[in-house]
Amino acid sequence: MSQKVNLNKIKLKYKRKYKYVVWILPSLFGLLLLSVYPRLQIFPMSLYKWSPVSSIKEYKGLHYYKMMFQYNIDNTLLYAKNTIMYIFFLFAIQTVLSFLLALALQKNTKHNRIFRAFFFLPMVFSSTMISLTWAYMYDPNLGIINALLGKLSVDGFPGFSFFQKNWMAVLCIVIVHIWANIGYPITILTSGLNTISEEVMEASRIDGANAWQSFWKITFPLMLPTALRLSLLTVSTGAMASDYIVMIGSRSMEKDYDTWAAVLYKGVLNSTDYGSLCAKCVVMFFVLAVFSLIQYLALRKVENAVLG
């Protein structure tokens, strides 16, 4: 009897749920205050002229947006161009390379597991460590790549500057980005490939499909949702990437290949005109949001098409 009463009491206690809501609130408050609130605050703050060290705030209206799109349109376009190049190179090279490597490493043998682990390794290094290493590889005078090519007596090496043109600089930095991060798409894609059932592949083989046909007719469509989800991630990381541009690029004198994110970062570090930085943030916010929306809609469409 007493046990039954006890049980009811516990059930009652179990049903009282409001206290769990209260327990979450401090964490939620911390998250919203320190992480979410600043991201939204850029909207009002882009209308003022202000700096972090003084308390004077002067209302400027849309002044900074006008600056960006009228007087400084050349710079704005240059940064936008660099960012688009960065995303394009990153997307094109990383998608193809990671897909090929994932196909090559698909079988779950010991050999492949070791190489998968090895390709993932740079992901645990700090971007500082990677940037410093690659800055030495690319160094025009004393760098390793120049020295190696010089040994092979290729014309123009050593002394070749890898950063002399915009697109070359961006490409070189994107290569570093891929070198550091390719473990991620490879891991996702191999695990995706391994979920395609062996029976389907077997059936296609019995029906007389060769490797090429079964790739395009089975593997590719089944992997499309995963690949799209990855590409969403690639595009947004590409658009926000500043680490390697800031750290490798700071070694050379020309700064003409800064992406939008790198300009923002350097601005926070060096300038005091925070209103104009906020305006840049707002533009980037909308661009990223639109990117995500497009990719999301594409993803939904493909998933519907593939899964019926």
Binding site: K17, V21, I24, S27, L28, G30, L31, L32, L34, S35, V36, P38, R39, I42, M45, L97, L100, L103, A104, F118, F119, F120, L121, P122, V124, F125, S126, S127, T128, M129, L132, T133, A135, Y136, M137, L142, I144, A147, L148, W179, T187, I188, S191, A211, T226, S236, M240, M247, R251, L264, Y265, G267, V268, L269, Y274, L277, C278, C281, F285, A289
Partner: protein, 287 residues
Amino acid sequence: MKNNRQKTKKTKLKSGWKPLNVLSKILIYAYALILIVPLMFAVITSFKTAEERVVDPIGLPESLQWSNYVIAWQEGSLLRATINSLIISGGGIILLMLNVILVSYCLNRIRDTKIGTALYMLILCTMFIPSVGSVTTVMLRRQLGLYNNYIGEILCSAVGITFGVFIVSGFLRTIPRDLEEAAMIDGARDGQIMFRVLVPVIKPALVTVGIFSFTGIWNACLGPMLTLRDEKLFTIPMALLLNFTGQFTVEYEKMFAGVIMTSIPIVIIYLKCQKSFTSALTGSVKG
């Protein structure tokens, strides 16, 4: 039966010599080479004298210059940086994990209610707001006194619970309610259920989240560079970036000695917990 066995033997032999297999082997080894070359030169360079490096960048050093490591440790003030990194990452990860466990546990308790779903969605939605607020974050942290000190760094890494809550509460969902109810009947309180009963069960998810978040905080460089301006507070990545570059020259051999010394612990952690890293990634995309 015999026929069958012969057949499998035949297909095995065949699959070993397909041109596709050869191609994929070539691709794998070629990429492995690209991966290993920069790392190899970082190690070789760290053992050279400055003169050897300038005269012959790709050759091997005549004798191993261990002194580079000693000088790098001192000149880069790496002891100070290591202590700072340990304080910030250690404090950050402990608070973050407690935070993640608490929030996931509570969310799991109220997951059937409307408010529970709403809170969960709210936390997940923060993932989709583009993180472009570095300007205003710096200002906010100055105002709150979380600027240029340990406590600010620790608190700000501890609030980023989104990824952790996503993984851990996903894991908690798979655990039958009976377990918690049984503990309750035995008179366990919430704290005991959380740490004595549930934590051991969801350990794989916690390890995954923990390792992943830890490397994130440990490796962060550009973010802390905005908020830690005092040289005494520099973490390892910042010390590596800022202490070895002069205005016109870079002492590469010492810098690489520093880089290698500070990378070895993280490589060891990776080799030990390699599975957790990859399962974190596959989980985050599939779920």
